[in-house]
């Protein structure tokens, strides 16, 4: 290829030598032209600088799925990525995660492909149906219903990015969305058979959305998993742990199965206004079930309340009329129950006059912002980190006491991956004196889920080393930080549990940003 060299970029490539079992980094400087792809770079290195560099390649047009690698921490197809689009002067290329490395950038893809042998990848119909001469009729509208899911090239990017896939029982995003693609195909009559392979493992999905975020073909596996769960719930074939959560929500309107009358126990001694005693306030403070009921979270929510008091914010909660936002039941596929919760909460919202909603949990935040029917109300909703970052910038809050600790911030998926809120939590931490903020290897968009989303925080039954939270805490331990800072009640629950399982409580602690802030005010 000709064309003018635009610039020279340094590539750091993670190598693995199977003979010596050593992993190391090789650095190459490569001239980049307009149009040069990451695969062109790998080819250039192999042909001109280091013939031993080993990687897979085939179609070079994004359709065969051979050349998926991690580029600056994110999985992508090398052939479908223009180097100049990465806007970086140093680019790191590593093999995909979650699959054993064979050599350099080549990983063993068999564990991924084995999953497809557990599902049926062809139409299921009664044998006599296939005796017809012509095609099965399918309208363009029916074709559209599953078309997007057919675009999967089986490149294994989703699998490599998936926190649940560290448990080999899990079918993985690609096989699950392929399975659902057939369920959604109007020609298929194999629903019952198709619900069997996912039934005992689909609950491992944490709804982190990484599969969908990184898919080069924009296949929405995340939604396909929810739709499949929905059919499982409908058919009544769900594990007891799942059934229990759904029943709790049905009866008590929260997943913990605690009487709603105890919902304001956290506020004891504080003068928190509640609906229906008040029916207007500037800020509606939405607490979240886990935060409200679990004593572990008490200080977090109390800190938020007292900060708002100090700021003179006129706020109130919905008191015992705050029902679960429904995020987990929605992700667990119980759409009817979600609608019931939403209907109640919306009815109360409409009776309550507030300018904005501030949530403790990224899950409530995401639900109100992005999920129908809440979404249709176009609520002015903020996560507490957004609220506090603003207050700090406006000089209304001043963390004064130093916090001399090394802290890594763990991005909650529903704040980061689903809503691109990455900076505000970091800005709060950066405003604290003495606090050394460091990044974990996987951060921002490529952050590794704690494993608590999608209902899994309630149903966890995987062996410890197959829980995402364990892997995440190990990652933080490798970094040598004192504190993992989080901004989500589920992340606290899972990661703190992991520190206990790993017997690392004396080495590392999990703290909500509010807990850290409290110590500095």
């Amino acid at each position: 290829m000709n064309g003018d060299v635009v610039k020279t970029i340094e590539f750091r490539i993670r190598r693995y030598d199977p003979d010596t079992k050593k992993s190391y980094i090789s650095t190459f400087k490569v001239p980049i032209r307009r149009g040069t792809t990451v695969l062109d770079v790998l080819n250039y290195i192999k042909e001109n600088l280091d013939e031993k560099l080993t990687f897979r390649r085939s179609c070079r047009m994004g359709i065969c799925g051979s050349c998926a690698v991690n580029v600056n921490g994110k999985p992508m197809l090398a052939c479908y990525t223009q180097v100049l689009d990465l806007n970086a002067d140093i680019i790191t290329i590593e093999p995909l995660s979650n699959l054993p490395v064979i050599k350099d950038l080549v990983v063993d893809i068999q564990p991924f492909f084995q999953k497809f042998r557990k599902i049926r990848n062809v139409l299921i119909k009664p044998p006599e149906s296939f005796k017809v001469q012509g095609e099965f009729i399918q309208s363009p509208e029916d074709l559209k219903k599953y078309w997007d899911l057919t675009l999967c090239t089986k490149c294994s990017i989703c699998y490599s990015a998936c926190p649940a896939a560290i448990d080999e029982r899990y079918l993985g995003p690609s096989a699950l969305s392929t399975n659902y693609r057939f369920i959604a195909d109007s020609r298929d009559e194999g629903l019952e058979e198709r619900l069997k392979p996912p039934a005992d493992n689909i609950w491992l999905c944490t709804s982190c959305n990484s599969c969908t975020l990184f898919c080069p073909k924009l296949v929405n596996s995340s939604d396909a998993i929810v739709e499949t769960r929905s059919l499982l719930v409908e058919s009544g074939v769900v594990p007891k742990t799942v059934k229990d959560v759904l029943e709790n929500v049905m009866r008590y309107h929260n997943p913990l199965g605690i009487l709603q009358s105890k919902r304001m126990a956290w506020a004891e001694g504080l003068n928190v206004k509640t609906y229906p005693k008040v029916n207007r306030a500037d800020v509606l403070f939405y607490v979240c079930c886990l935060t409200a009921f679990d004593v572990r979270h008490r200080e977090i929510v109390r800190t938020m309340a007292s900060i708002m008091d100090k700021l003179g914010v006129n706020y109130a909660t919905l008191g015992i009329e705050e029902w679960c936002c429904g995020d987990h039941v929605l992700r667990m596929g119980e759409k009817g129950l979600f609608e019931m919760l939403a209907e109640h909460n919306i009815a109360v919202f409409q009776k309550f006059n507030a300018n904005s909603i501030v949530t403790i949990s990224p899950h409530c935040y995401n639900t109100f912002k992005n999920e129908r029917p809440y979404k249709d109300l176009q609520l002015n909703v903020q996560h507490y980190t957004q609220f506090l970052a603003e207050a700090i910038e406006e000089g209304k809050i001043k963390p004064t006491k130093p916090y001399n600790k090394r802290v890594a911030y763990h991005d909650p998926c529903f704040l980061g991956k689903r809503n691109q809120v990455y900076d505000e939590p970091r800005r709060i931490l950066q405003s604290i004196k003495g606090l050394e903020l460091v990044e974990m290897r996987r951060n921002h968009e490529s952050s590794f889920c704690c494993g608590g989303g999608g209902g899994r925080v309630w149903t966890e039954e995987a062996e410890p080393e197959k829980r995402p939270c364990i892997e995440r805490v190990k990652e933080a331990l490798e970094l040598g930080v004192d504190v993992i800072a989080v901004a989500c009640p589920l992340c606290i629950a899972t990661l703190e549990d992991a520190t206990k399982v790993l017997k690392a409580e004396d080495k590392i602690v999990v703290k909500d940003i509010l807990e850290i802030l409290k110590e500095t005010l």
Binding site: E51, R57, R60, M61, I63, F113, L123, E135
Partner: protein
């Protein structure tokens, strides 16, 4: 040394290989089938097929019409019995794949939709948007893994066929993961390894399309037929060569030169942009040669203009093309034309096979692009190749299964395998010369582009032959840097080049001998078609001194050669 035994080996797991696998498995669940592929099956080049698959599905269309279009497209070099058989089988394949779940694009009535394609006088390309090959592959793979008597050897690189007494006995392959040479015993082998267009520099082909199966069969004694006929696709994306489907023109796209003219007016006034590929590619090259191409940083090009089709139609019918043009060409076809020029795309030639896919070696079958039963003659029509892979893949699987059930394993000596081990590990990997494989490969590809391209002439072909033979000499003096066993892509790249050099030589020698212009073979020094002397197929046999040529007649059933106008 490990020797594994299977009744049937399918080599290559693209469309033809997977279809053969299913067909063999359907023939009997008692036979033991193994699929050997240097890539995971769905990484095969077949996933790049875009525009469609030809089949007579409409009562206004007819088998004779499809057959005649194919024969005329072939510039009358196709064997007409093969063509007639093929057109009758194709519709059944479309339905089979539909029944297995392929998401064909649909008419408003919910039937399989069809679009126009170059050289076809009726819209008979069944399609799934512009990812037809991709869907066919995923559908076939999904079906193939349902059989318990099929074992997949993914990432096994076949190196040689073992033939005893002119019958197949087995083959050798490198297990890429371990680097060990494995010998396979088999009663029947189906070659389905695809084309060899990677001998060219500007090509639509995937990196691994290096014609390994053609070269292995050739070295084992099977002749290669009609290798001078290499198709250049009119719309290879500049600068990479990635395919932009003919379906883009099927949907109404224009080809424009730098003067803004739809120049096809001058070359094929009736069919315009939808004339057969040889005609359009020559027209483009002529426009470029005469200075009417656009100039760009990557050389002269032609513009493929889809802007008048509108965003909705492009998104629905050509979504991949839009994405590819944006990501790899830096243009959005909704807003601006796509820069294209002719790119090496298809080998009409291949391992000589008959209508039952049998090669002259007993027990060896060939299907898909690596084969030549002379369906495409001197020029293939678009959408006939995916159809061919399905039809003849199916035939090959069934024939191989029947043959395997009627015969026993052929014994072969361990020495044969030890000799192959020596050739690979001591010979190629052990060489300590100073020539570099990537360098030699690029030189070969440049020579082929420059001298064995769309327009050919004797002195250039002769000089190309000399240069390729020089490279073959220099290949004896290579050094593969990677000396390790595990996943040694340095070694496989060298083995592929070794295969390609043989195929380049055969291509040039066949082209040099054919002193006429027919279909994709255009000799500037012999511009006319010469039915008196050249209505024959070329056969190239391996000898230690280079290819030896022979000729056999063309089978004509209904249609006598006629002038070819579009």
């Amino acid at each position: 040394m490990e020797i594994l035994a299977h009744d049937i080996l399918i080599v290559g797991a693209g469309l033809a290989g997977l279809r053969a696998t299913i067909s063999a498995a359907e023939t009997s669940n008692k036979i033991d089938i193994a699929v050997i592929s240097k890539l995971h099956p769905i990484r095969s080049h077949s996933v790049c097929a875009q525009g469609g698959t030809a089949a007579v599905m409409n009562e206004k269309d007819s088998f004779d019409l499809h057959a005649y279009d194919t024969v005329k497209g072939a510039d009358f070099l196709a064997d007409q019995d093969v063509v007639e058989f093929f057109v009758r089988q194709a519709p059944k394949e479309i339905i089979l794949l539909e029944h297995w779940g392929l998401p064909w694009s649909r008419t408003p009535e919910g039937k399989i939709d069809q679009r126009p394609f170059g050289g076809h006088s009726f819209p008979r390309a069944c399609f799934a948007a512009d990812m037809t090959g991709f869907y066919e592959m995923h559908t076939l793979y999904g079906k193939a893994i349902t059989y318990e008597n099929v074992k997949f050897y993914d990432e096994f690189f076949a190196t040689s066929l073992i033939v005893e007494n002119n019958a197949v006995a087995g083959l050798t392959a490198i297990d890429l993961k371990t680097g060990e040479l494995v010998a396979f015993k088999a009663k029947a082998i189906v070659m389905a390894t695809g084309g060899h267009e990677r001998i060219y520099e500007f090509t639509t082909f995937s990196h691994p399309s290096t014609g390994d199966g053609m070269a292995m069969a050739y070295r084992a004694g099977a002749p290669l037929e009609d290798m001078e006929f290499v198709q250049f696709h009119p719309t290879g994306l500049v600068p990479s060569g990635v395919l932009i489907t003919e379906g883009a023109r099927g949907e109404g796209g224009y080809l424009i030169n730098a003067l803004g003219e739809r120049f096809m007016q001058r070359y094929a006034p009736k069919m315009m942009e939808l004339a057969p590929r040889d005609v359009v590619a020559r027209a483009e090259q002529k426009e470029i040669n005469e200075g009417r191409g656009f100039t760009g940083p990557y050389g002269p090009y032609i513009a493929l203009d889809l802007t008048h089709l509108g965003e909705e139609k492009i998104n629905e019918r050509l979504p991949l093309i839009r994405d590819v043009a944006k990501r790899l060409g830096g243009v959005d076809p909704v807003k601006e034309p796509i820069p294209v020029r002719p790119a090496a795309h298809y080998s009409m030639g291949g391992i000589k096979a008959n209508i039952r896919t049998e090669t002259p070696i007993r027990g060896l079958y060939a299907a898909g692009e690596c084969a030549c039963y002379s369906l495409h003659g001197a020029n293939r029509l678009g959408t006939n190749s995916t159809a061919e892979c399905l039809v003849f893949g199916g035939v090959a699987g069934e024939e191989a299964a029947k043959y395997a059930m009627s015969t026993n394993f052929q014994e072969f000596s361990k020495e044969r395998v030890i000799a192959e081990e020596k050739r690979i590990y001591d010979g190629i990997l052990g060489r300590e010369g100073d020539e570099r494989v990537p360098q030699l490969r690029e030189e070969m590809r440049k020579i082929m582009d420059k001298k064995v391209g769309i327009f050919r002439v004797e002195n250039e072909l002769k000089s190309a032959l000399k240069e390729i033979r020089d490279i073959k000499e220099r290949f004896r003096n290579i050094r593969v840097e990677d000396k390790s066993k595990t996943f040694n892509t340095g070694l496989t790249t060298a083995l592929e080049l070794d295969f390609m050099l043989d195929l380049a030589e055969v291509t040039i020698i066949s082209a040099l001998a054919r002193t006429e212009s027919r279909g994709a073979h255009s000799r500037l020094d012999y511009p006319e078609r010469d039915d008196k002397n050249w209505l024959v197929h070329t056969l190239a046999y391996y000898t230690v001194d280079g290819p030896k040529l022979d000729y056999i007649p063309v089978t004509i059933t209904k249609w006598q050669p006629a002038a070819r106008k579009y």
